[in-house]
Each structure stands twice: as structure tokens, then as C-alpha cells.
């Protein structure tokens, strides 16, 4: 966890004070809603179907117990006792009153949090690997770079009115848990032949109406040249990105129109002119690195008797261990995934009480460290194996012990027509139906890793393009229909899914997913995930089965 210094604290406090003034001008009628819109959007405040929605930044998905408790408190005091974790590792409250928003920002500032740049055509919250600092896979701690980018991008004088929003993801592990290749910029930390750290720079990926897996424009950018290079990319985009059509304004459209090679050439040309003056000094990077709270690990045996005994006695714990634990870099420790995909509930939602429990667990058993994943789950990154039975018991008691991470009921869904003014169709109830269809945990485990992602409209907030099975809600003459895509992936093997066939009505979706799964179970070879089988067989057997059923 990065510790704010006085500069960081005063920065968010100033921002909160500015917003309080702006809200006062709106409430007094000095500003019209139209004039106010741009101001509130710079502070993460949206006007949705029923109320204001406030999106709070959780930089690179990292927070501590005190911050989580504050979010719980805000949910309880100003919302309806719950919040929604998003695919960009942020938190949304959906039932906010405008007059409360300044108080909420003050409350956030007190715990070193903010809502800066969670909306608007600016550089948004940087997303990163939720296992950072805990996984043995990583080459460096991506949070250091994420925090440096957070600071550099905050109220950037030149890049706060871009053609469109701008999202950056950073990962330092070969297993990409950030969907880096479908971001405006994806940064993958690499080590050069001489041992030097650098970045593979991917630009122009994205979802929405026009999905792209981004091309690499620099194979190896020396790490200490990152900021001048980012400046060059953003400047080329700011000058040349389209501003005549909101749907063609993302950087992916510019990169695709120019071609990756020509875009890379323009960036290189601009980069040469900027020179090292645009870089952050090594001393500041070292300071940021040092400002992360140190985690102290005990020397422990690789296996824990307490844990093994408890697992043998409790099949539910054993199932949780199989599906929700991930290897930690230190022996005797584990990464615990806490699923926010309890069957029947809204994906990504957590109640204030649950947030408090997570905060307690993090404090007592998890080095005061909590992460949010882009798949809308939470992570306790540093838990001793000895403590897993107790953590599991407390998760069970608060209804957060679903052992379904990466399984078919671990579904990403956007808020959809239940909340969002843009949506064409509901997403949450579809997710709930599918989860219920696969409620049998043995069957879900037998199916294995299967990522279903649901968007309620073509803006693709539910990442349907990169779902192993993607579901897109469309409106057909006032009725909700759903288009299925297969074969997408947001991971290191990123791909955009292909359409299965004609859209299905609302009440046929869960059954169609069941059919797809049956085809997979029939066709799969040993060790294949759904995605692997699909890639081998192609769409035909799946298509045949789903549309045979439909007749």
C-alpha cells in the first residue's frame, strides 16, 4: 500500500474543496445542469436512471483496511448499504444524492482516496495485477509504476481534454490478469537481455463498438524512459485522434487508421523531440517504491499442518482451497481470492457489512492489504496457510465464501438496464440465471475455467468481447435479445470473440449456455478449458447444438 505524503494529501483535499464549491454553485442555480455536467464528470459523478452514481478510484485496485471501512461507512451513510466493484478495479455507489457528494469526497480524502478522473475524457484509473507483490511470477512490482502514472496523470495540464477516455493497464507477470491487450495502453514489464527492466508497449486495444487486440508499438522501452514515451503517445493522440464522432474517438481508431507501424513512427518522432526531460527522475521512482508499506513475511514451512488437517475434515474448505487460493511467492503463504459472485447476487456487489469483514480479515490475517480484481472479486494477497481455515470460516459467516473463482458462475456483468441509462437490456438478471443454472458446485468444477462476460449494450462495459462466452444485450423492437460470442479472451492469449448466430430472447439465454457447456464436455480433450476446445473445434458443433435446440 502506497503511503500518501503531505503533498498527496493536500492534492486530494484541494480537489475535494474545489468540488464542494462547484456543487454549491449548482445547488444555488448559478450553474445549469448542463454546465455542471462537465464538472461533476471530472469528479466521477454520473447522473443515471434513478440517481447520481459516484465512481470512486481505487488506484490499481489496491486498498487497506481503513480505506475499505471508510467505503463501507459511505455505503451505509449515503447509499443503501452496499457498493459495486467494477471491471476497472473501482467502486461505484449507485444511489447518491448530489448534496452529499462533497461530504463523501471529504471523507475519502481523509483516508487518502478520491474520485479524480474516474470519468471524463482523461487518463482514467490505472489498473494493475491484483496479485502484485504476492505472486512469484512478476519481474517487478507493477504498483510502483502504477502509482507513478497515477501521479503523473492527475490533473495533467495537457491531457485532461482528450478526444475520449484513456485507460492504461500494467502487468509484470506472464499471466495477464489486467486485460492489458484490450486497453488504450497496455504495459507489460519485460527484462532485457542485459537484465535491464523495460516495458512492452501495446497501444490501441479496446472493446466497445469496435473491439481490437492492441498491437505492440515498442518491444522494449527502457523503464526509466516510460514517462516521456507516454507523453509522446498521448500527444500524438491528443492532436490527431478524431473528435468528430464519439464512437471513433478512442486511440484504437487512430492506431487502426494509421496502421501500427506509422503510429509507432509518429510516436518515436515526438518522443525524440521530448527527450529525457519528460521522464520522472530515478530518485522519485525510488521514493515511490519506498513509500509502499513493507510486507514482512515469516519463515514458514511450505505446507501447513493446520490447513491440511482442516481441509481433510471439511470438503467445503477443500473446495474453496482448490478454486480460490493461488500460489504465493513465500512458502507458507497464499493469495486468497474472495468471490463477489455469490450465486443469486449481483456480480461485484458487496454490502457495507461484508466490506467491514474483509477489512477485519485484512488487518488480522492479511498484512492490511486488499485488492480488487478486474473480474470484480476481492483479493487478500498475503494470508498464512495456517490462517486460511479461520479466514474461510469468517467469509462463510458473511456470505462471501463462494468457491467459484474462474468458474462458470464467476461472471462479469455490467450494471445493465437495472441502473444504466445507456443499456439496451438487463445484464445482472442474466448473470443470476446462468449462475443458478450452474449452482451445483461439483458440476461447475467439472466444467473448469470458463469466463462468461455480459454487457447490456454495445459499449461493452461487461467486456463481452473477451469472454470465453460473451453475451451482449440488444434491443429488438423494444424486446431484450442477447447475442452470444465465443472464443474471446482478455488474458495474455487475448482474442475477440466471434458471433455464434442470431440473438436469443431473454428467457433462452441460460439454456443456451447450458447447451454450449454440454457440447464442450462432450468434445473436450484431456486438460482442455472451454476456450481451448472451442479453438480446436471451431464454432460449428456449438452453433449446431444451440440453434437445433432453438427450433
Amino acid at each position: 500500500m502506497y503511503q500518501y505524503d503531505a503533498v498527496d494529501q493536500e492534492f486530494v483535499a484541494d480537489r475535494a474543496r474545489e468540488f464542494r464549491e462547484q456543487v454549491a454553485r449548482r445547488l444555488s442555480g448559478e450553474l445549469s445542469e448542463d454546465q455542471f455536467k462537465t464538472l461533476r464528470l471530472m469528479n466521477g459523478l454520473y447522473l443515471q436512471l434513478h440517481a447520481y452514481m459516484l465512481r470512486i478510484a481505487i488506484p490499481y485496485g489496491s486498498l487497506n483496511a481503513r480505506q475499505m471501512r471508510r467505503l463501507a461507512h459511505i455505503g451505509r451513510t449515503y447509499d443503501r448499504g452496499y457498493g459495486h466493484f467494477t471491471t476497472r478495479q473501482n467502486l461505484q455507489f449507485h444511489w447518491i444524492k448530489l448534496r452529499d457528494a462533497p461530504d463523501i469526497l471529504d471523507q475519502l480524502a481523509e483516508v487518502d482516496m478520491h474520485a479524480i478522473q474516474t470519468s471524463g475524457n482523461c487518463i482514467r484509473n490505472v489498473t494493475s495485477d491484483p496479485y502484485a507483490g504476492a505472486t512469484a511470477e512478476e519481474l517487478d512490482d507493477p504498483r510502483v509504476w502504477s502509482e507513478a502514472i497515477r501521479q503523473w496523470s492527475s490533473l495533467h495540464p495537457e491531457f485532461s481534454f482528450l478526444p475520449r477516455k484513456f485507460k492504461i493497464a500494467i502487468t509484470a507477470a506472464p499471466n495477464d490478469r489486467t486485460a492489458a491487450k484490450v486497453h488504450d495502453i497496455g504495459l507489460m514489464i519485460r527484462r532485457g537481455r542485459d537484465g535491464q527492466l523495460g516495458f512492452e508497449v501495446i497501444v490501441g486495444g479496446g472493446l466497445g463498438r469496435t473491439p481490437y487486440v492492441g498491437p505492440t508499438i515498442a518491444e522494449f522501452l527502457p523503464a526509466n524512459r516510460l514517462f516521456s514515451y507516454l507523453e509522446a503517445i498521448l500527444r500524438v493522440y491528443n492532436r490527431h485522434g478524431r473528435r468528430d464522432n464519439i464512437y471513433k474517438a478512442r486511440i484504437k481508431i487512430l492506431v487502426a487508421a494509421l496502421g501500427a507501424e506509422e503510429f509507432a513512427r509518429q510516436v518515436a518522432e515526438e518522443w525524440a523531440k521530448i527527450g529525457p526531460e519528460g521522464d520522472l527522475p530515478d530518485t522519485e521512482l525510488a521514493r515511490i517504491r519506498g513509500a509502499f508499506a513493507t510486507t514482512v513475511f515469516e519463515a514458514l514451512p511450505a505446507t501447513s499442518e493446520v490447513f491440511e488437517t482442516a481441509k481433510a475434515a471439511d470438503p467445503a474448505l477443500a473446495r474453496f482451497a482448490r478454486n480460490n487460493l493461488r500460489p504465493h511467492k513465500k512458502p507458507g503463504y497464499t493469495i486468497v481470492e474472495v468471490s463477489l459472485k455469490t450465486i443469486g447476487d449481483t456480480p461485484g456487489d458487496a454490502t457495507s457489512d461484508q466490506m467491514d469483514v474483509i477489512a477485519d480479515l485484512a488487518e488480522r490475517y492479511g498484512q492490511d492489504d486488499i485488492r480488487v480484481t478486474h473480474e470484480q472479486n476481492l483479493v487478500l494477497p498475503h494470508v498464512r496457510l495456517d490462517d486460511v481455515p479461520e479466514v474461510f470460516a469468517q467469509l462463510q459467516a458473511t456470505g462471501l465464501a463462494s468457491a467459484n473463482v474462474n468458474l462458470i458462475s464467476d461472471i462479469i456483468a455490467c450494471p445493465g438496464l437495472d441502473y444504466c441509462a445507456l443499456a439496451n437490456a438487463r445484464a445482472i438478471p442474466v448473470a443470476q440465471q446462468i449462475a443458478q443454472t450452474f449452482a451445483d458446485p461439483d458440476r461447475a468444477e467439472a466444467i473448469g475455467e470458463l469466463k462468461i462476460k455480459i454487457s447490456g449494450c454495445i459499449n461493452a462495459c461487461g467486456h463481452h468481447h473477451v469472454g470465453h462466452i460473451g453475451i451482449l444485450g440488444v434491443d429488438k423492437k423494444g424486446e431484450e435479445f442477447y447475442q452470444l460470442t465465443l472464443g474471446g479472451s482478455g488474458a495474455e492469449d487475448a482474442a475477440v470473440g466471434k458471433m455464434l448466430g442470431p440473438a436469443l430472447p431473454y428467457d433462452k439465454v441460460a439454456a443456451a449456455i447450458d447447451t454450449l457447456v454440454e457440447v464442450y464436455l462432450r468434445e473436450r480433450h484431456e486438460g482442455e478449458r472451454f476456450l481451448d476446445t472451442y479453438r480446436r473445434t471451431g464454432v460449428e458443433p456449438f452453433k449446431e447444438a444451440v440453434y437445433a435446440d432453438a427450433h
Binding site: D5, E10, F11, L39, W152, S154, H156, E158, N238, R243
Partner: protein, 168 residues
């Protein structure tokens, strides 16, 4: 004489006179100092300068500052247009004028210029403002000075956080 908000060297803001007349391409030229389009400057700039007038050039967002580079020493004002407040291209133009071309003349923000942009504009090197929202120099100063810290180096002289920290 019309007025403008001007930034002074001590980072204070005052209401200043504007001796320039902004002239559209289809208008006749009045006597005195004028701000004209880039196209008109290319056609008539030499003559106007020879007459002893001060000449400013208005650049639309799609017009690149590089095209002006050679003429900058003779241009008294570069007026960068914000057809909409959302159009952020002029921020890049201003920074390049100041930092890449070391332009020392006036960089003026015209068009949909609102107090909420003031901080960004000053940081990018603008020093004259024709606000569209009726903002006063006090409003402008308030908006510009609201943040005690900045995280980036830009075209102004503000010390970025990473330098400030070294001092502390």
C-alpha cells in the same frame, strides 16, 4: 477598448486592455493591431507587418503550431481557439509554443474559455484569456491557485511534486 484577463509575471491576474482587433477572413481590415487567421497571415502578413502594425495569428485546433515556427519572432499574439471547451488540442499547441519553440509573445485562449480550464491553461503557457463565462480576474486567480501542488513539469514555472519532495 475591450478587455482581457492577463496573467502577470508574479502569477497575479488583472483585467488588461486588448489593443488587438480580431478580424474574420471575410471582413475588411481596420487600422491598428489585428489578429487574423493563419491563411490570411500567409497571404497578407508581410504587408501588415511592413505597415508597422502588431499582428497576431489565430490558430484553429486542426492547424499545427509547427507551421508557424518560422514566423513566431514576428508574431505578437498567438490566439489558440477552443471551439468547444472539450477540444483539448490547444493545450498541446500552447505547450509546444512555449517549450519547443520558446515563443515569448502572448498566447491567448479564445472561444469557449471557462474558468474550470484556467489551471490547465496557465500550466500549458497561456497568459491571456477571453473568458466566455463572465469570469473575473479574481475568479481566474482563484481557479488557478486552488491546487497547492502539481505532479508534472509543464510550461509554467511551477515546481512539480517530485522536485518539491526533494527539497523537503
Amino acid at each position: 477598448m475591450p478587455t482581457l484577463i492577463r496573467r502577470q509575471d508574479d502569477d497575479q491576474f488583472i483585467l488588461g486592455d486588448d489593443p488587438f482587433t480580431a478580424v474574420a477572413d471575410d471582413e475588411g481590415l481596420p487600422p491598428g493591431d489585428v489578429i487574423i487567421s493563419f491563411a490570411r497571415f500567409q497571404a497578407e502578413g508581410d504587408r501588415l507587418l511592413a505597415e508597422g502594425r502588431a499582428v497576431g495569428v489565430r490558430l484553429e485546433p486542426a492547424e499545427e503550431v509547427e507551421a508557424l515556427a518560422y514566423d513566431l519572432p514576428r508574431i505578437a499574439v498567438v490566439a489558440l481557439a477552443f471551439p468547444k471547451y472539450r477540444d483539448g488540442r490547444a493545450y498541446t499547441a500552447a505547450r509546444l509554443l512555449r517549450q519547443r519553440f520558446a515563443y515569448a509573445g502572448e498566447v491567448r485562449a479564445v472561444g469557449e474559455v471557462l474558468r474550470e480550464q484556467a489551471g490547465f491553461m496557465v500550466r500549458c503557457g497561456f497568459d491571456a484569456f477571453a473568458p466566455a463565462d463572465g469570469a473575473s480576474p479574481q475568479d481566474w486567480a482563484h481557479a488557478v491557485h486552488r491546487h497547492r501542488h502539481v505532479y508534472q513539469r509543464a510550461a509554467d514555472l511551477r515546481t512539480p511534486a517530485y522536485v518539491e519532495r526533494e527539497g523537503g
